[in-house]
């Protein structure tokens, strides 16, 4: 098990600490700092590392919470849903087919306005059984009322978990939020992470206040009665209202995060890397950022004007803002670590969404190519990135390219 160096308890309250921890451990520590009340767990790799670390924190007396090992993911997500309705700050998570097994609970949570925070350790959906990262698991809830964000480092995982509670528990929001962490590259890799002091976290994250929605004998309400055509559409419209303000709330919280902790994330919705004078850019989510950035630096040395945009928030999808960022480039190459069966142009999910955003919000219409790459944990290599960049440059020159291509496939 992980051996976190335990400094003096007092020092942790007021001073930032540094530790060598995995992305999963970083999320567990964020749960401790956020003083989460109820945690439910059911093992599936790579998410299970989070439940291991939380159980260790509880066993070591560092964290005080109800820690419930459910009999399956379905119960796991039901239990936290109810606990959250009763005013508890909750945490849970899963991976791959485990996340899919909880699907019924995932669908019923948003309408009840439950600010559940979950971690998805991204994993390929079976079959074939595989542990490697693929984004289709978390993306499967993209239309259901969940907020979805992707992180690319253990530090960002910890920070985003704190941000997640602030955003989800904002009374204007009250919707569930899933933080996606790529299996292996992030969940199982230990890096040096700055752990904020407890006092700072307390300043940043107020207690969860469910207000008039609290399920409690002192506040007599009934939740989720059977409804019919007189009710459903209005219920959906209430959740739609959340999406209208979600981007503003997220922006507010990031500004406050920066003020409190001093760590800057810039634009909350996407990170731009060497895009300033770029002719073409690649765009993707999660830990593929590492090989892409290395490749971009290499190609820059060769005089190729290429940049990278890493999407952080997929739901809400900051369409106009992203379109405005991308309209200045001559071509865009999207790297999809997922696959959308039968979609327009047979592309991945991210490219399809992006084309839609560009159609309505961009002043220009640069070609948006899609590359299906890195499925099932396959490495996105530096030569892969160079190849995708070359193809994108060809498109920028006006040479027609297939809209979807598989990269790194044995063919």
């Amino acid at each position: 098990m992980a051996t976190l160096t335990i400094p003096v308890e007092e020092k942790k309250k007021t001073h930032e600490q540094e530790a060598l921890i995995t992305g999963a451990e970083a999320i567990a520590i964020a749960c401790k700092l956020a003083n989460v009340d109820v945690v439910t767990a059911y093992p599936i790799r790579p998410y299970d590392t989070v439940m291991q670390y939380i159980s260790q924190l509880v066993a070591d007396g560092e964290m005080d919470c109800e820690y419930i090992v459910a009999e399956g993911e379905h119960s796991q997500f039901e239990i936290v849903k109810h606990a959250s309705a009763c005013g508890a700050r909750v945490f849970c998570g899963s991976s791959g087919v485990g996340w899919m097994y909880a699907m019924e609970c995932l669908t019923v949570t948003p309408a009840l306005r439950i600010p559940m925070v979950a971690m998805v350790g991204n994993r390929a959906l079976d079959d074939p059984g595989a542990f490697g990262v693929e984004h289709n698991d978390a993306l499967s809830v993209r239309d259901l009322g969940w907020m979805l964000t992707w992180v690319d480092s253990a530090q960002e995982a910890l920070d985003t978990a704190l941000i997640a509670y602030r955003v989800a528990e904002d009374r204007r929001m009250f919707v569930p939020l899933a933080i996606s962490c790529d299996g292996a590259f992030l969940t199982h890799s230990q890096a040096l992470v700055k752990i904020p002091a407890l006092e700072q976290v307390k300043k940043f994250l107020p207690p969860y206040n469910r207000g008039d929605l609290l399920l409690h004998p002192d506040n007599v309400i009934s939740v989720a009665p059977q409804a019919n055509e007189d009710w459903v559409m209005e219920v959906r419209r209430q959740n739609y209202a959340v999406t209208e303000i979600a981007c503003d709330v997220i922006r507010e919280v990031y500004t406050d995060f920066e003020k409190t902790f001093g760590r800057k994330y810039g634009n909350p919705f996407f990170e731009e890397y060497m895009t300033k004078d770029a002719d073409v850019v690649l765009l993707g989510m999660g830990t593929m950022s590492t090989p892409v950035k290395v490749a971009v630096r290499k190609m820059r040395e060769e005089g190729k004007k290429v940049g990278f945009v890493r999407l952080r928030w997929f739901r809400p999808f900051a369409g106009p803002e992203i379109a405005k960022c991308l309209e200045r480039f001559k071509a865009i190459g999207v790297i999809d670590r997922d696959f959308s069966f039968g979609s327009p142009d047979l592309s991945g999910v991210v490219a399809t969404e992006l084309r839609s955003a560009m159609y309505t919000s961009a002043a220009t219409r640069p070609p948006v190519l899609d590359f299906i790459c890195g499925l099932g944990g396959r490495e996105v290599t530096v030569p892969d990135v160079e190849k995708m960049t070359e193809i994108t440059f060809e498109a920028a020159k006006g040479k027609a390219q297939p809209l979807t291509q598989w990269i790194g496939l044995r063919e």
Binding site: M1, T3, T5, L20, T22, P46, D127, P128, F131, G132, G183, A184, F185, H188, S189, Q190, A191, L192, T290, P291, K293, V294, A295, R297, G377, E379, T381, V382, L409, R410, E411
Partner: protein, 393 residues
């Protein structure tokens, strides 16, 4: 670009998972004392929660963030500066769960760099197992008993800091002995371990291994099919039914031998193997029935012969066998081939029984690799003896 270092630790699943992690973490934290940055991680496609399965843990260290990122851009390092082997029986080759076939332990080691093995054996004995390679390299033996423990119980016999001391000597550019000592003092808070690390550093020496020196066995090369050539529907072709086999000595046809997967042999997970006394075997069938790997062939005489390509060395046959000393598990490093014991027995019964007697005497409990701990306090009992062997150097 600054300097980039990679160290891999090859270990046995469950028994050495915590140990391997402690070592790679130690490297990163010790190097961080010199202002370097690093990450530590286990190979994700491994199955470190399965008993004895060969697995890997890595440390990547760099002088600056951009260089570290270049190291992190790969799924795992393709070339390493130091390879550490925590159990010398792994020198026969490591076969990961990722179906890439048996591979030499120094597969990723850069030419001229150092392979560190924990062992009580000397270099010639280890080189009987370590595959030959085209490029020369250095071999350093850290003398000691293989440190095995359980999933949740860690046997703190100082193996972690002995390896850190050896790495500081083999690759001073990644971390100095002082940085290792600082790490131990500050994070492990154990002055005795500082002394152990220093001793290991001072004693550590290497010998040069020439190109072509070592085990001449050819390793399996596995090709991966193109997507159009793969069978559809996530299906793979099944194995045949098996049938009688010809006795290797008499030529008589009979018994039964199942067909086994040639590409997924599992035997590299073996740390001890059954030695069978065919003269006292009552043919009760229990070993054959209970073997989880179907590793026994039924001979024409109705006895049970272990197929060492299929045996993963779990020891269930020894436990289940009702005849005293009929099946004895013996440390895997006593053997250098996977030949049939039945064939040897038939060829010369007298010689086989003599060999058997001598071999099962070597089933030394301290050298034996314990498959999980059997009673509370077992590891604590083993530590003083292991430490004594280590301190003799």
């Amino acid at each position: 670009m600054g300097q980039l270092f990679a160290v891999e630790v090859i270990y046995r699943g469950v028994f050495q998972k915590t140990l391997a992690k402690n070592i790679t973490r130690g490297i990163v934290l010790a190097a961080h004392n010199e202002g370097k940055l690093g990450i530590s991680f286990g190979r994700y496609s491994d199955a470190p929660e399965r008993n004895g399965i060969p697995a890997k843990s890595f440390a990547i260290v760099a002088n600056d963030e951009e260089t570290l990122e270049a190291g992190m851009a790969q799924y795992e390092p393709k070339q390493v500066d130091v390879t550490v082997v925590l159990d010398d029986t792994l020198c026969k080759g490591a076969e990961s769960w990722a179906w890439s076939g048996l591979q030499p332990v120094h597969r990723a080691l850069k030419p001229g760099h150092t392979l560190i093995v924990i062992s009580l054996d000397d270099a010639p004995a280890l080189l009987k197992n370590i595959h030959r390679r085209k490029e020369p390299y250095k071999l350093g033996i850290v003398r000691g008993v293989t440190s095995f423990s359980g999933m949740w119980v860690y046997k703190d016999d100082h193996t972690d800091v002995r390896i850190l001391g050896a790495i500081a000597k083999a690759l001073p550019a990644v971390m100095s002995l002082e940085s290792v000592e600082k790490f131990i003092n500050e994070k492990l808070k154990n002055s005795l371990k500082v002394t152990t690390a220093r001793n290991a550093f001072e004693r550590f020496t290497t010998i040069g291994v020439k190109a072509g020196e070592g085990n001449p066995e050819e390793v399996v090369k596995v090709g991966l099919p193109r997507w159009e050539d793969m069978r559809c529907g996530v299906s793979i072709k099944g194995q045949g039914q098996g049938g009688p086999f010809a006795d290797p000595v008499t030529g008589e046809v009979g018994g039964f031998r199942p067909v086994r997967n040639e590409l997924f042999t599992k035997y590299s997970a073996r740390t001890q193997r059954p030695v069978v006394n065919f003269a006292t075997c009552t043919k009760c069938t229990l070993c054959w029935l209970n073997c989880p790997d179907g590793a026994f062939d039924i001979t024409t005489a109705g006895t049970y012969d272990t197929n060492f390509e299929a045996c993963s060395g779990c020891g269930i046959c020894e436990e289940i066998c009702p005849v005293k000393n009929c099946i004895t598990m013996v440390n895997e490093d006593e053997f250098h081939d996977n030949n049939s014991q039945w064939a040897a027995f038939e060829k010369d019964k007298g010689a086989y029984l003599k060999w058997l007697e001598a071999t099962i005497k070597k089933a030394d409990p301290i050298k034996n690799r314990s498959h999980g701990f059997r009673y509370r306090g077992q590891y604590q009992e083993q530590v003083p003896e292991a430490m004594e062997i280590a301190n003799k150097g």
